[in-house]
């Protein structure tokens, strides 16, 4: 989900950045390795633009995992049963773990954890637009697992073969863990959809609100995603935004049908010739507004994230002091 181009589209492009003079022989050898589906490892030579694109993509991905804990974390104490509470707690812990795998993988490219966290907290770094929508009811937790994690899985499965080794390995672990996230969400939706009229309405309302933002998670349409071609050539991305979006619609609509919920798109129709669903236009202005930071709860999310970081400062300081004390003690012995 987090592999999309999240730059503001009105921002001036900087084509010169891509044109850093690279050693042509090294560049040819690199391109050949990547084209042959070889993995690139941290100490291998790589073009500056490849490194830069990866750092941006991986750190955005990591930030999304970390911020993604916030909307769900809000619901841990309000989960309707002990079972749901334990499951949600495990899911949120996984998201934290996923953020850590990805930060560590990005650090192999020479960026520091501190730089990345500072970029997130200062608002310079982007994260998935989806987390700037509010979670109003318990059904939203179901919809997030089902749709948001479902979209993430579609995006992440091909990334297990992304050309940068540490990123690919992180994705293998993440994909292995992600499947339960989607299934627990779908289970929540199934129970609500089969419940009382109020519960049913709640489930439908959550689907109505999360459907379009979920489609936006795949990023802008291909004709407005200037870096896609380069990223695909370098095997940083393996499928385009529109291809993945179509795949998501095709697998998700029958799931909604199966539990009697209705996808909120009057233009949605099965296209026999294509073997796919046709669907209505996505409101890209809304997407770009959220990318610019105008999401409904964007400010709350960053406030909560920064507060968590600052409230934990004393723990970090204590751990550092404790370690330093033991270094001194060991030296004296």
């Amino acid at each position: 989900m987090y592999t999309t181009e999240l730059e503001d589209k009105n921002k001036k492009p900087a084509p010169r950045e891509v044109l850093v003079a690279e050693d042509p022989a090294k560049l040819v050898a690199f391109e050949a390795r990547v084209a042959a589906d070889e993995f690139i490892e941290p100490k291998d030579w790589m073009p500056a633009a490849y490194r830069k694109t990866l750092v941006r993509q991986m750190s955005q991905h990591a930030h999304s995992e970390i911020v993604g804990m916030l909307p769900e974390g809000n619901w841990i104490t309000r989960a309707p049963s002990l079972r749901r509470k334990a499951v949600l707690l495990a899911k949120v812990q996984d998201e934290g773990g996923h953020g850590l795998y990805l930060y560590a993988a990005a650090e192999t490219l020479g960026t520091s954890r501190e730089e990345m966290i500072e970029a997130l907290h200062s608002g310079r770094a982007k994260y998935s637009t989806i987390f700037n929508y509010p979670t109003l009811t318990w059904a939203d937790i179901g919809a997030i697992g089902w749709l948001v994690d479902g979209a993430a899985i579609l995006n992440q499965v091909p990334l297990q073969r992304t050309s940068y080794g540490p990123y690919a390995r992180a994705m293998v672990k993440i994909c292995k863990e992600e499947s339960f996230h989607q299934r627990q969400g779908f289970e929540i939706m199934t129970v609500l959809a089969g419940g009382s009229p109020e519960q049913r309405r709640m489930a439908q309302d959550a689907l109505d609100r999360w459907w379009w933002p979920s489609l936006m998670m795949f990023g802008p349409p291909d004709d407005n995603s200037p870096n896609t071609a380069q990223s695909i050539r370098w095997r940083i991305k393996r499928e385009t935004n529109d291809e993945l979006r179509q795949k998501f619609v095709d697998v998700t609509v029958p799931q909604a049908d199966a539990i009697g919920l209705k996808v909120p798109d009057p233009k949605l129709a099965w296209n026999e010739a294509r073997g796919s669903y046709d669907f209505g236009p996505v409101d890209w202005e809304e997407f770009y507004a959220v990318v610019r930071g105008e999401g409904l709860v964007a400010k709350d999310r960053m406030k909560a994230r920064v507060a968590a970081w600052e409230d934990g400062a004393w723990v970090r300081e204590a751990a550092t002091a404790h370690a330093a004390k033991h270094v001194v003690k060991a030296a004296a012995e």
Partner: protein, 94 residues
């Protein structure tokens, strides 16, 4: 700018009888904390029965630029593999 805690490489033994395998890395102030973070980060689903954490700075790695000199000489020494040798078909147990 880098005030991060030191980086530790994490190795997990999946089960007794297998060697420890690199799983990833964690930042930690000291070894004890590195072990605890490694446990939370890399073994949430019974992935292991034992952990090693090693300060990343202590790892000495081969240079990819020397990969050819180091590893290619093995490529033309197929006689190191048993299939290189021709044994009459009626001879068994060899």
């Amino acid at each position: 700018m880098n005030n991060d805690w030191p980086l530790w490489e994490v190795f997990v033994r999946a089960k007794h009888g297998l060697s420890h395998k690199h799983a990833g890395s964690v930042h930690a102030a000291d070894a004890r904390m590195a072990l605890e973070s490694a446990r939370d980060t890399y073994t949430r689903r019974m992935e292991g029965v034992s952990l090693w954490v090693v300060p990343s700075a202590q790892i000495v790695a081969s240079d990819p630029g020397e990969a050819a000199a180091l590893f290619e000489p093995a490529a033309d020494k197929v006689y190191r593999h048993p299939t290189f040798y021709v044994i009459p078909e009626h001879v068994k147990n060899i």
